[in-house]
Amino acid sequence: MALLELGQYGFVIVLLMIGLYVLIARDNLVKKMMGLGIFQAAIILLYISMAKVRGGTAPILIEGGGDVVYSNPLPHVLMLTAIVVAVATTGLGLAIIVRIFESYGTIEESELRELDRSSDKADRGAR
């Protein structure tokens, strides 16, 4: 039972690791951004799950409702900000990828590194 109650954290950790793995192991920059997105979504889930109060309802004040248990609204609000940040990061990342494609002609990291290395060499060779 205790394991089931902590199940949400297991889910968050698995998602975090999937995101991190994609971020590190994939060669394609767009896929890296997807990995980052999964990573950020996992953090959002972590916050949302901690706001849950058993038997709690949406935190809207019910007049004359008496003994009502509410969920904690603060983590939800924090995550609104985090979602905005995640969207901005993704947008900026994709914009940079577009410019990388325009100037390198590829968005595979290994090829980018190869191209960078050859321009490093050209810099040194020019002297």
Partner: protein, 491 residues
């Protein structure tokens, strides 16, 4: 009016960033951004004076009392960091932006300055706020602006550098966010001072350990502490010199401030160093950074890249002072925050002068520079001596305190390694100097000094580093006061 200074410090550059989009004309925007930076500098100095006179200032944003509302809290450490950041901004923003360094046309320069002001907003916000989640928000504002600024470099490698900076930075911010969440889960508060109190009874739970670990590693990435520094060299090398100077002098300093705040104010020294063994991790990492950074710098063939690697070593000095946990060493770290900001900011601007005239910052192109651009070359020499820590320069003062702190704490080996790393620094500085005074440069008679609009900001920073090397009482006074209040654990 004056009681709203803490809010103005952040709101002024934030609103100005939006105003840049209306002004549009490149020259007007540049003058405007400079004026804003100067105004921010004045506000920071006023805040520092008020803190020195009347103790910490607590400002409830929007009138919501802390710990429920967001609190801006200015004590001697914050005020000091605010002065550093705004002083650098005031000196760096007037530095002209040349087409040789950015890939956007002059008609789009207003967007560059808008990003620059947003980066300033974020950095000031991190330094001033007393709310942990607010730190995350400002961290992302400054980081997103910084990724944009780095990606605007002329060389296409700036783009791949900006992308890896974005990936590493977002990962670091994600770790910080997880850490904040876990700490909130255990305490139900986000206010730093309140957290310090409420963390006490739950300190020995695995959740708080994880929160600490995530926060420290996340901040470590932003700080570029060895071995989390991989994003830094490329980002600073290919960013426009103005951006490299601004970020190297402010972004890592603010990250260091946040690290100190976490360790000393939020979690407490006893927890960080005894339960979590932060010293055992940070001390070897810092010493390694000194040597890895300096030795890597000695192998570079490009001035900007050399300066970037030297930054990694200099960050090592700062974290070393924190890891030693001695009042003298911590004073040295905080002094180095200020001194290194002046020196490295000045050096990157000098590199900007070099790029302006030579269209390259490769050392091989700088042969005989001392005769072609004497002022710039002189600035590089003086700044370089500061990096080594030659007596009479600002770098000497902070290293003196660091070595003194290491000896007081009985860390003889650390003190020795500190001095040895200065010798390695002397190697890379000499490498630059040797090239500049070489006699076989092209057309040695042609003097082509950078325009005054470029060398004046450069020399303002380098000159200040000389001044604070000879007259260090002011900076030592503030740094030791901040170090004492940190070690006393006063929130």
């Amino acid at each position: 009016m004056s009681e709203h200074l803490p809010a103005l410090q952040v709101v002024l550059p934030l609103v100005s960033a939006a105003l840049c989009l209306v002004l549009r004309r490149a020259f007007v925007v540049r003058v405007f951004a400079t004026a804003v930076a100067w105004a921010c500098f004045a506000i920071a100095l006023a805040l520092l004076a008020r803190v020195e006179a009347g103790g910490p200032i607590s400002y409830a944003l929007g009138g919501w009392a802390p710990p429920l509302g967001i609190e801006y809290r200015v004590d001697s450490l914050n005020a000091y960091v605010l002065v550093i950041v705004t002083a650098i901004a005031a000196a760096v923003f007037p530095f002209p932006l040349r087409g040789r360094e950015v890939r956007i046309p002059r008609s789009r320069h207003f967007l560059f300055y808008a990003s620059l002001l947003l980066a300033l907003t974020g950095l000031l916000g991190i330094a001033i706020t007393g709310d942990l989640f607010n730190v995350f928000v400002f961290l992302e504002i400054s980081s997103l602006a910084a990724y944009t600024l780095v990606s605007l470099g002329r060389d296409r490698r700036a783009l791949s550098a900006a992308f890896s900076y974005l990936v590493m930075g977002s990962l670091g911010a994600g770790f910080i966010l997880i850490g904040i969440g876990l700490a909130y889960q255990m305490t139900g508060t986000l206010n730093m001072a309140d957290l310090a109190v409420r963390l006490d009874p739950v300190r020995d739970t695995r959740t708080v350990w994880m929160a600490f670990a995530f926060l420290i590693v996340g901040t470590g990435i932003k700080l570029a502490v060895f071995p989390l520094h991989q994003w830094l060299p490329n980002a600073y090398t290919y960013a426009p010199s103005l951006v490299a100077g601004f970020l190297s002098a402010t972004a890592t300093k603010v990250a260091f401030y946040f690290l100190a705040r976490l360790v000393f104010t939020v979690f407490g020294v006893a927890f960080a160093f005894e339960s979590m063994g932060l010293g055992a991790v940070l001390l070897p990492a810092s010493v390694a950074a000194l040597f890895v950074g300096s030795i890597a710098a000695a192998y570079q063939t490009d001035l900007k890249r050399l300066l970037a690697y030297s930054s990694i070593a200099q960050i090592g000095y700062m974290t070393l002072g924190l890891a030693l946990l001695e009042e003298r060493a911590l004073t040295g770290s905080l002094l180095h925050l200020f001194n290194h900001a002046l020196i490295k900011g000045g050096l990157f601007l000098a590199a900007g002068c070099v790029v302006f005239r030579l269209r390259s910052s490769a050392l091989a192109d700088m042969r005989g520079l001392a005769r072609r651009m004497p002022l710039t070359a002189m600035a590089i020499v003086v700044g370089g001596l500061g990096l080594v820590g030659v007596p009479g320069t600002a770098g000497f003062v902070s290293k003196w305190y660091l070595v003194g702190g290491a000896l007081e704490g009985g860390h003889l080996l650390v003190a020795f390694l500190l001095l040895a790393s200065s010798l390695v620094a002397a190697i890379y500085v000499w490498k630059v100097v040797e090239v500049m005074i070489a006699r076989d440069g092209p057309e040695p008679e042609v003097r082509c000094e950078a325009p005054a609009s470029m060398w004046v900001p450069t020399w303002a920073l380098i000159g200040a580093s000389l001044y604070f090397g000879l007259q260090p009482q002011w900076s030592i006074g503030i740094a030791s006061q901040a170090a004492r209040s940190l070690l006393a654990g006063a929130p």
